[in-house]
């Protein structure tokens, strides 16, 4: 969708919301708005798009309590602000909007979280991603390294960049808006998205990208929107296998889940942000056992998180049930760099080749 189209769609959606409130109040009714319930119990698998989306459960937010009324007031101010940005063709970060809200008196945000949540609400109601509101994420994109070429429009014109030849050893920095990024061509067999920089550097130092024609991507923890969107686009455009390689603990599985299925809090954007074909490479609980990796005991919070995952529809597969139950049984977790305990080459020479061929990727 072109920028102009997206802008028009955004404006229309926002005005619809405001008009509905105006009409409610005009009729002497307390203004209200419907939102899908945003919990893991209200996400459903969409067969068509192969992603998890919010289901039918909605909650009605009526300005009949001070909290809800204030929420609606803030929403009105955000709508007013975005309308202004669209008219003036400006953009800003959420943090900047948070500071701009200083002037909104009662509608001022109490904390950054609140403005984030509110923008998500607006995305859901309007079915327009925040990029359409000209709101930039604060988060930086991650890094990518491998045999692929992209074309990026910048303030200084279109740039064609090859992600091995045209970049430093730290790779190409993914910008925070990848909608306009063009995926030109590639010479890769698969993509490995890694949780930690140490593993990303290890694979680059050991020449894994050249040896296996692999695109390496550093997720930098819980991946930013632009990172997830880029993976989604690589998968859709080039149809390459996407493999997620994280630490072996419940929080890392959530990183995988957010790549593959979308985060619960952005389930409304799943079609754009999720990569349903992404596969979990490791570190698997069975690896801890099979390779006897250095490990830590699961904390109470870990166990709680694992149990929560057992009831999470996104993990409702035999593979995950088996792995999670095994982990609970072992009572252990490991980091991906724990492979170093078996030598610095172990991960590139032994573990990854074995695991990738087991997965049918090489």
């Amino acid at each position: 969708m072109s920028k102009e189209e997206l802008d028009a769609r955004s404006m229309k959606a926002l005005m619809t919301i405001a008009s509905a409130w105006y009409d409610q109040m005009k009729a002497g009714d307390i203004p209200s708005i419907s939102l899908p319930t945003r919990t893991k119990y209200n996400i459903e698998y969409d067969d068509a798009s192969e992603v998890w989306k919010y289901g039918d459960k909605e909650s009605l937010r009526t300005a009949a309590t001070a909290k809800s009324a204030t929420h609606l007031l803030k929403m009105a101010y955000v709508i007013g602000f975005v309308k202004q940005q669209l008219i003036e063709n400006r953009s800003s970060t959420l943090r900047e909007m948070y500071y701009i809200s200083e002037g909104w008196k009662r509608a001022k945000f109490g904390a950054q979280d609140e403005s984030n949540f509110l923008v998500e609400d607006l995305e859901i109601i309007s079915d327009v991603p925040r990029e359409g509101f000209h709101l930039r994420p604060e988060e930086n994109g991650a890094s990518i390294y491998g045999p692929m070429r992209i074309r990026e429009p910048t303030r200084r014109g279109l740039k064609m960049i090859h992600c091995q030849d045209d970049v430093g050893s730290a790779g190409y920095s993914i910008p925070n808006n990848v909608e306009n990024l063009e995926l030109v061509d590639h010479d890769a067999k698969f993509v490995i998205a890694m949780e930690t920089g140490g593993m990303y550097d290890r694979l680059i130092e050991n020449g894994f990208d050249e040896e296996h024609n692999a695109i390496l991507l550093h997720l930098k923890g819980q991946p930013a929107r632009s990172t997830r969107r880029l993976l989604n686009r690589i998968s859709q455009t080039w149809n390459l296998p996407i493999l997620v390689f994280t630490d072996g603990d419940p929080w890392s599985y959530r990183i995988y889940a957010s790549v593959a299925y979308g985060a619960i809090k952005s389930a409304h954007m799943s079609e754009l942000l999720a990569t349903p074909k992404a596969q979990f490479l490791g570190l698997q609980p069975s690896d801890i056992r099979d390779y006897n990796l250095p490990s830590d005991k699961l904390s109470d919070k870990d166990v709680e998180a694992l149990n929560a995952e057992l009831t999470d529809p996104r993990f409702a597969t035999d593979y995950w049930k088996k792995q999670i139950n095994l982990q609970l049984e072992l009572g252990l977790k490991s980091e991906q760099q724990a492979f170093a305990a078996r030598g610095l080459d172990f991960v590139t020479k032994k573990y990854l080749p074995a695991r990738l061929s087991e997965m049918g990727v090489i």
Binding site: Y22, M25, K26, G28, A63, A66, A69, L73
Partner: protein, 600 residues
Amino acid sequence: MVLAEELAKQQRSISVAEFFEKNKHLLGFDSPTRGVITTIKEAVDNALDACEEAQVLPDIYISIKKTGPEIFRIIVEDNGPGIVPAQVPFVFGKLLYGSRFHQIRQTRGQQGIGISAAVLYAQLTSGLPTVVISRTGVKEQAHKFGIQIKIETNEPDVISEQPFEWDRIHGTRVQIEFKSTMSAKKKLLEYLRYTSIVNPHARFRVELDDEAFTFERVSQEVIACPVAIQPHPHGIEFGQLKRMAAASDEKLIDFLVNGFSRVGKKTAQEMCDRAGLKVTAKVAGLSADELKNLLAAMQAVAVPAPPTSQCLSPIGEDLIRRGLDKEFQMDFVAARTRPSSVYSGHPFVVEAAIGYGGRLEAEGNATILRFANRVPLMYQQGACAITECIANVNWKSYNISQQGLPLGPVLILVHVASTNVPFTSESKDAIADIPEIEKEIVLALQDLGRELKTFLSRRDRNKLAEDRARAVCAVIPEIAAKVSEIVEKPVVDTTPIEGRLMRKLIAKKWTRDGKVTIEANNYTASDVEISVYDISADNAADADMPPAFSTEMDGQFTKVWKMAIPKQTVWRVTYTGKGGGMLDIRGIEDNKKMVVDLDV
């Protein structure tokens, strides 16, 4: 063996006066400070008891004056029946002498020790005899005595006795002088205030050196004097039965019917049958074993509880509430008089009250008022079963914070009335932990706790609902303003929404284009009849609905409209003017109305 003989020579009898002289703390005379309170307490107890017996409304005068270094003169005077001259020396000059010890009924004083102990204390510390004036009636002469106690024998020592001209027609005045301090003045006044709460029929006038206080009565009704009852068959021990039997010349059945509470012929018959004894047997002739069988039978047969209505005199829920109301103005007060109950054959009644808010301290431990037979307990709060019971109740479940004792603006009163209050010591400061009594106290407190909880949650709920609606009403107009700006339409009017939220009568006044409009929206759930008071410089001569009346003073016109407004409807009036001034609505509760001047 010589030794035993020698030891024998040292053996001798100890007089009760000697015993208590050495054990002053048992009687509450272990410090000069306490002595004052104990003495006044004993004298006031006797005065109240005497007035009760005489069925007069007590009018008690108390005075404390310093007469020398560390020496204080205490006077307590009552309008009771007086004491016949022959008895005065014994009542005041002999420990363990009194009229109430052998009676089974609720009295304040009981053991015949209290006031004589004060006399003893005076004689030990100041060396001065106690002066007693008493007059038993208008036709009788008043007598004045100087009294001490012969300690070695516990017999009265009358220092002086003479007739006396006294303006009281009946009553007693006792004047005791001993070593003391007035450092417990606050405690003393507390004692009198509390006494006045549980004796709402009494008036106390107090003179402390230069200050005078009066605690007025709130009830003009003389309280019934408790009547003595016979012992209850379930509360008697073998030794007592044996003594009663030995002293009796009756037949067994008559002995049982006449000698015990609640035993009728039928019950007596059943007891005899069960004991295998003839109803006609002479009681005095029964052997020890036969008496044992009889006792077992008496305790096995079901007998109703002792008749408490006669022998006990609870204050009553209404008078407790009024008494507390007089001394503490609180937002909530509830009282409970429990049904009477029995421990070890002694009937008792527990009364309790809980107060909340008002002038009570918002912080710290709850105020605890403990009473036994209408007498406040001033010391040893920590050792008292009442305190323990209060601490054992789970106040948190009644929304009262608690740290051992409940905390916050809470007052707890507990009154235990009994024919025999079980004190932990003879100084009568604390009630012993008798399970039967504790159970009753806890039940009363729990019952009151539930009532308090209901009050608190209703109060909180009302306040919360209103606060909530008010908070919403503050936001709605802002939403309206912003949304109208976004959709680029005129600002939408949100007053209907506000009134709806508040469920109130909303009166508004605004001025636009030289026209003043007053509007009253009845959003409440019922029809209302109200008056609108509008005071301003406008005369409202052209009002579309003329005011019921209009008056002028210094250029300010007071216009009053009266009307009924059905629920969910609007009343409106418009006139030419500049607005301003003041608007008020009468005829509806404050919390059901909102008055808004939109021009301000």
